[in-house]
């Protein structure tokens, strides 16, 4: 495929920004109040470590010319790596099901109140399946085009909310000190924006070199700054108490803005642009699940697998929709957050194993 210098940056920004921007802010305000910025910055710093681990592990695979699903056996051993691939297959489909249910709850409660959730899930599932069938290269090219739209959308949103913000709350960011929940909040931030290992699946289509490290670090910076600014503006517009209660603060801000005309009614436009990035996000996750299962079961033809995995994610999302109270409660459990942190730390385990096995030692020339 045709590659360009900042392609990884565009793709990783789209991938990482879409879900936290929409769903991370109310839980963060709820648990950390005025100090969410500290958890965000520490989480962003931890991401630098995870990205570096991903880069070093990816470079080893890139030098061998193999994809990570193949090369990983040389680091973690045959059965260790296969266990990780099986876990990642489960994780990728699980993540898609969570996204689908989040989107269905959001879209169903705001725009399609009388539509049964299974119908929205079916449509979203079919769209994700068709997008994943187009293949990896097409996903990258779609992300290339969507990036500029998302960037303009985010900048526009930030400008829209600056006007109505109450800046008298700003000193509270420094004066309110309660570090009781700081550790769990950092873990929560890492669970939302820490899955940088997933870019190992860009191999062998895109090589891992210093530009890849630069691109991933830039994407991390952009995601951290964008989510931080959005968090800040939600806080300054809604306050701590209402900000933690409102389910979709950005949508409420768009609808409640003092602008009228096109700007005041632009919520469907923003949601449409955001939904494109969500579909790219989930289609890539299906691609990851298919890559893992295809390697495990030696299945070269992946199209039937795409249907199977998307169907499984859709059915799991349907299960959540049958008891949304339990679903919402589960998302805030510490065990749930711990699972995500364990998965997101995968590049760290592989790097440690690679160091122990001497994969980074330079071979002596004879």
């Amino acid at each position: 495929m045709r590659t360009t210098s900042f392609q990884t940056f565009r793709f990783s920004s789209i991938y990482m920004l879409t879900i936290p921007l929409a769903f991370m802010i109310p839980p963060l305000i709820s648990t950390s109040g005025y100090q969410g910025w500290i958890a965000m910055l520490i989480g962003g710093a931890v991401n630098v470590v995870l990205i570096s681990c991903t880069y070093f592990v990816g470079k080893l695979a890139s030098n061998s010319g193999q994809s990570w699903v193949v090369y990983g056996e040389q680091i973690a051993g045959k059965w260790g790596h296969r266990a990780v691939l099986l876990l990642l297959s489960f994780w990728s489909i699980y993540y898609v099901s969570l996204d689908m249910e989040q989107f269905t709850l959001f879209y169903g409660s705001i725009y399609m109140k009388d539509t049964p959730p299974w119908f929205i899930l079916l449509l979203v599932g079919l769209v994700i399946m068709i997008t994943a069938r187009w293949g990896f290269s097409t996903l990258i090219y779609i992300a290339d085009g969507t990036f500029i739209l998302i960037l303009i959308g985010v900048l526009f949103l930030l400008l829209l909310f600056i006007g109505d913000a109450d800046y008298q709350m700003l000193p509270a960011l420094l004066n309110h000190r309660n570090f009781t929940n700081l550790f769990t909040d950092v873990l929560s931030v890492i669970s939302w924006i820490g899955e940088w290992f997933i870019f190992l699946f860009l191999l062998p289509h895109l090589n891992f070199d210093k530009n890849t490290l630069r691109n991933l670090l830039l994407a991390n910076t952009m995601v951290t700054v964008a989510v931080l600014l959005t968090w800040l503006l939600v806080l300054l517009n809604f306050g701590v108490h209402y900000g933690s209660q409102v389910k979709y603060p950005i949508l409420q801000l768009i609808r409640g803005t003092s602008f009228t005309g096109l700007l005041g009614n632009a919520d469907p436009l923003f949601i449409g642009i955001w939904a494109i990035s969500m579909i790219i996000h989930d289609a890539f996750l299906v691609y990851v699940g298919v890559s893992c299962l295809g390697h495990l079961f030696k299945l070269k033809e992946t199209r039937p697998l795409i249907s199977i995995l998307t169907g499984t994610a859709t059915v799991a999302a349907f299960q959540y929709s049958q008891n949304t109270t339990q679903y919402q409660k589960d998302l805030s459990e510490l065990g749930f957050i711990a699972f995500w942190v364990i998965i997101n730390s995968i590049p760290l385990y592989y790097l440690l194993l690679a160091l122990v096995r001497g994969k980074f030692r330079r071979k002596k020339s004879t």
């Binding site: 489960f90 199209r303 697998l305």
Partner: protein, 62 residues
């Protein structure tokens, strides 16, 4: 219904394939059957566990 719909699409995709390697056939049918049984259970039985339940069984003690 969702389970059956996507299973039907998967079957259709499989039938469309021209080259079906022997090992791939066995693997596909195993995977297809397991996921179909699981998804039908998940679709129609109210107490069928969802992925959140598995994760919290393993890590809910934290």
């Amino acid at each position: 219904m969702l389970a059956i719909c996507f299973a039907a699409i998967a079957l259709f995709e499989w039938k469309q394939l021209h080259n079906k390697p022997a090992q791939g056939k066995k693997a596909f049918w195993w995977l297809f059957s397991l996921t179909l049984v699981w998804n039908i259970g998940a679709n129609f039985i109210s107490w069928w566990p969802n992925p959140n339940r598995f994760i919290l069984y393993l890590l809910g003690w934290i």
